[in-house]
Each structure stands twice: as C-alpha cells, then as structure tokens.
Symmetry: C2
Subunit: 194 residues, 2 copies
C-alpha cells in the first residue's frame, strides 16, 4: 500500500514514499540476501569524524532470537511486529574510552537508520521504526556490551493487508500522513519571535 | 566531483553518491527556492510518535546571519564553510514540558538531517554536515530558546575546485571513502563474542 506524502515541494520519490506501516504480510519472508543492502545503505551514512558509531542486531521470524528481541518491545508493538519477517534494533556506541557519554552518537545512528529505512522502502518492503521497547531487555536478549545502548527498534517485511490490524488498526493504517509545514521548523537567519 | 561509494551490495544511487566535500564553488549561489526541497525532505522523516523534534536555522552567504553562524564553527571548519552558499544548523527539541531530557530527539533530528543530505545530493549540491562548533555561540547567534539544542552544522553549495583547499586539503578531498564492513556492525541474532 502506498501512502505517498503530499509534499509542498518536489522531493525524491523514495523519501515521499517512506512511511511506517504496521501491516506486514505474515506469509512472505526476507532472507540475509534481502537485508544485506539495507545494512550496506546504513554503512555509507555520514558520522562525526567518520566514527560510524552505529551497530545493528537483527533476527528473522521463526528464530529464537526473534522471539527474544520481540519480547523486549512494548506489548502494543508486539501485536504488529509478530508478522514482520525481520526485527532489528539499532544500537549506538555511547560511552567513550574515558567513560564520558557521546550523546551525538545517537544522532549519527539515526542518520544511518534513515538510510536503512529508505533502502528498504526502495526495495518495496514495509519498514517501521519504533521507540517503544525496554532497553534493558534488548541489552539482555542481544548480549549488548557496556558502552553501547539500543536506540530504535525496526520491523521489516513485505506489506500486508491492513485488515489484519483489526478495524481501528486498519483505520489508523489508512489515515493520511501529516507533518508540520516547513515554515514552522526551518527559520531563515534567526529563531522567530515567540 | 563524484566519489561514489565502492559498495559490497547494490544500494540507491543517491546514498552511494552522498559524501562530505569541503570544496564549494565560491561563485555560485543557492536561493530560498533551492533549499525549500531540502527542508521538505527533512519534513517527511520518521520520528517517535510523529513528534518531529527537529528545527533548522539557516542563512545565505553575504547575510550578517551567515557570518554570525559561521563564527560559531571551529576555525578549521570556517576555512571551508566560508565558500558555501548556505550554512544551516539542525536543532533538536531536547527538553520536555516536565524538564526531563529527550535524548532520543537527537536521533530523530539525525534522521531528518539524513533526508536533507540525500535531497541535496540528488540536486547536485555539495553538502557537508559537521559537529565542530560552539553550541553556546550557535544558540546566541540564532536566538535559540531554552529547551532546544543545536545538533549539527551543515554547509551547502555547489561543488568547487578541490585545489581551493590547498595541497593537503585537496589530497584529503580526493582520497577514497572508507567504512567498516557490514559484518563488523550488523549482527545476526546476538552480539559477537569479543
């Protein structure tokens, strides 16, 4: 299902077409070969001093690791993640050698994830990032070492039938996408007087 | 100048072609019409609960605001930013109503910036994000209110002659791009034993 953004200025098709569906096709599956280009796209993202602070841990539906990673998500998210073919978490290296916190690395990990989302969109996959998960559970399930912190979950699969989500879920799935206009977040020269 | 990434898997052209040049053409300029699609691309990025925590403040070379924003960058960056046509900073809403810090918003602002970088690349612009700036100076120059923090500077313009950067700068500009391989940051099922 396409929900192309109604843009005020022309933008790249893949950016206009990326959105966050919850309806995944429970019959179709992705493989290592399918996800490799997604991580490759993340790989070529920009980062401060080329530090590449992003990591990903992922599993395919049917694997014990998928169940463990899914159990770290909040219950409301598990309901739709269960039909995704791949579940991944982005992870940022957040602790420097001297123990200080590298907050900027969340930002750079976000840039890498944005590449992954666009590459998945271009491949025709449904891809949905989510913040609703228990960080400690992800750390335990994936064996994430000290110095690294989970950033974002991301469910990937083939698009499915919105009615799988129930009546209310299907309505939400079909609702038009919305964003604040550019004038409300991009300021020429100076922040606007409030 | 193109420095297309040598990828191990096929990815979107625009992702393979994005890089961070320092050589901008000092003669050619961008206008509001040129930058509008860049912010439009950022607009349609994903964010936690569609909170859209990103903001941007920008100025065109020749404007007093450009000088003020440029003076906030570290000296080494000013040397190449001075030839860019547009200087912007991404800004994240980091303080919630209850005063708590929304660290995740740096991540979402990074995703929006990634869209901007790709849209600029698609338009044929040179675009270079940088972290080397004095946050307090950006806040003062742009009048950024409490609750918001600058994330990343970004210089935008038309590609220029690398020799503008001097001999050492030109060598760096022409060097091949490098990244750690996917196997070193994307882990199937579980973090690797160290």
């Amino acid at each position: 299902m396409k929900k192309t953004a109604q843009t005020d200025h022309p933008i790249l098709d893949v950016i206009a077409e990326r959105w966050s569906p919850r309806a995944f096709d429970p019959e179709r599956v992705l493989s290592e070969v399918d996800v490799a280009p997604l991580f490759e796209a993340a790989r070529w993202s920009a980062s401060s001093n080329n530090s590449q602070p992003w990591r990903f841990v992922y599993a395919f539906r049917g694997e014990p690791a998928f169940e463990a990673l899914m159990a770290a998500a909040v219950e409301g998210n598990q309901r739709w993640i269960q039909r995704a073919s791949v579940l991944a978490y982005s992870v940022a290296k957040l602790q420097a050698e001297d123990g200080s916190h590298l907050w900027h690395n969340r930002h750079d990990t976000g840039m890498a994830l944005a590449h992954l989302l666009l590459q998945a969109t271009a491949a025709g996959y449904a891809v949905h990032p989510f913040g609703g998960f228990d960080s400690d559970k992800v750390i335990a399930a994936a064996g994430i070492p000290d110095g690294f912190e989970p950033c974002t979950g991301v469910a990937i699969g083939y698009p499915g039938d919105p009615t799988l989500l129930g009546e209310r879920g299907a309505l939400r799935e079909l609702a038009e996408r919305s964003r604040r206009p550019v004038a409300e977040f991009a300021f020429h020269g100076h922040w606007p007087a409030s």
